[in-house]
């Protein structure tokens, strides 16, 4: 049993419940004990850093201080969200590197009766823990339903491999960790050149045109060039942008992509034989049902597809992808 301090982050309780559920399922299977930081607060995402430096870092550091206090021997904070992970790592890094700055942040924390010793805790993402502490062999040993035949685009995003304060990833631009993990699950992993390109971040709310272009690049490359069945994300923000905004991106560019975006833990759960519903399948905007049925996995259909109903039904699909013919028949047969 490996013990970790767990920082879930806000999305896990709202938009990324599927991630939370699948993380819990997978960690149980792999005997990873996650001890949630009691009374943790939001990491501020990129928004607080944009407004005020000291309060932004103090907000992040409160979590580190609580984690240090509650650590009980464990020295590793695990975050499943890339933005939370980077914020926690960033605060620890700068408090350590810039002593005067660290002192200031601790002075702020002291106003709330807290203190963090920079460098005391290692901040890591769940992907890194699964790969480097648990290991691919242990993962393989748990696989009862290999994902054979599922073409997966591994999308790791920006904030894990960059700036990578702890030198934890194999490359800042082309890390292959996620590929290795998905391959261990038996998936057919494409060599996705945009695996660390940007999902648009908060630009969906600020400059949608900028965001939609970034989303389009990712989705169209995975779909058209690499004929991926699904894309896999390791961050709630990436998943949200590519999944929930895919319909709007389609509207913006007059395209018709239907690329399911899943969390890596959802596919791990399926490979480990867990129930699709318990892994949060069916909460995605772009249904993963067809893609998963192709490898004989039944997943629930997402709730009424509100955005799609805006569009006239019966529009022809774009020129068929590799599996398109299979897909259509399959999905019809698979329909309840």
């Amino acid at each position: 049993m490996s013990d970790y301090i767990f920082y879930p982050g806000c999305s896990m309780e709202s938009s990324a419940k599927a991630y939370y559920d699948s993380v819990m399922s997978v960690c149980q299977a792999l005997d990873i004990q996650l001890n949630e930081i009691d009374d943790w607060n939001c990491c501020g995402a990129t928004e607080y850093l944009s407004l005020e430096r000291m309060p932004a870092y103090a907000l992040i550091a409160r979590n580190l201080a609580l984690a240090e206090k509650q650590s009980n021997g464990s020295k590793t904070v695990v975050a499943p969200c890339s933005a939370c992970y980077l914020n926690l790592a960033k605060a620890d890094h700068y408090m350590h590197e810039d002593k005067a700055f660290g002192k200031n942040i601790n002075e702020a924390l002291a106003a709330g009766g807290l203190h963090y010793t920079p460098g005391k805790l290692a901040v890591r993402h769940l992907l890194d823990v699964v790969l480097n502490d648990i290991g691919l062999e242990a993962v393989k040993a748990k696989v009862v339903k290999p994902l054979t035949g599922l073409r997966v685009a591994p999308y790791i995003g920006c904030m894990l491999p960059r700036p990578d304060y702890g030198n934890r990833y194999s490359d800042t631009e082309n890390p292959t960790e996620l590929d290795d993990l998905l391959r261990a699950l038996g998936a057919d992993v494409i060599d996705f050149p945009l695996r660390t390109a940007c999902c648009g971040g908060h630009m969906t709310q600020i400059g949608p045109g900028t965001a939609f272009e970034l989303i389009r690049r990712l989705v169209s490359t995975a779909a058209d060039q690499y004929k991926a069945d699904v894309m896999v994300a390791v961050c709630p923000m990436c998943q949200m942008n590519l999944d929930a905004f895919q319909g709007q991106m389609n509207g913006y560019f007059k395209t018709d992509y239907h690329m399911p975006i899943l969390f890596f833990t959802q596919l791990m759960g399926i490979a480990f034989g867990a129930d699709a519903k318990e892994l949060g399948f069916g909460s995605e905007f772009v249904s993963a049902r067809e893609a998963m049925s192709r490898i004989g996995v039944q997943t629930p259909e997402p709730a009424a597809d509100a955005p799609a109903k805006k569009k006239p039904a019966g529009l022809p699909m774009p020129p068929p992808l590799v599996h398109a013919s299979q897909t259509t028949t399959h999905s019809k047969e698979a329909g309840q």
């Binding site: 928004e47 407004l51 005020e52 000291m54 870092y57 700068y94 920006c158 648009g200 909460s283 509100a306």
Partner: protein, 200 residues
Amino acid sequence: MPQMIDERAKAGLTPEEDLSLLHEVSMKTAGDSHVEMCIQCGTCGGSCPAGMDMDHTPRAIFAMLRAGMREAVLKSNTPWMCVSCYYCTVRCPQEIHITDVMYTLKNMAVQSGMVQDSTASDFSRTFINFVENYGRSFEIGLAGLHNLIHPRLALRLPNMAPMAIGMLTKKGMSPLPPKRIKGMKGLKKILKRAKELEAA
């Protein structure tokens, strides 16, 4: 650097080196940002996924900082278009913490009231208002409020309403604000002290 002198001339500045703005940015960035070490190679701008939507690429911004062009820098949309992908940061041959410098420029623009298009800074403010009052972010409330403040955005996104409904029906998100953290009082004290230290 002829180009730099050009930019200074355009801004009506004298040719003497005035590095106080560059120094200020450096001081307001956590850690050693190396911002004064820019060699104007342009790797940052070429690596930037949002570069085409920026008034000035990061490279130009560094030249303008060196030239003391405070207003032009702080009024530009450049830092607000930054998506925090850190490509420029890892590729910079001088190891300038470019993404962090962009955060600093956003801080300075907000504090000096020079922000031109407030869509981005209002979004940050709305986000942080929830955090400063609940200790947690509130995605649904954030998107809703932000679109009320900036209705232009909602108009540009005709599918916004069905999408919001999808957030509730598909993702099972709650339309209610998050539960306030227990240590809210302590957190408020921490943030208050941090704000004082920032202003010091």
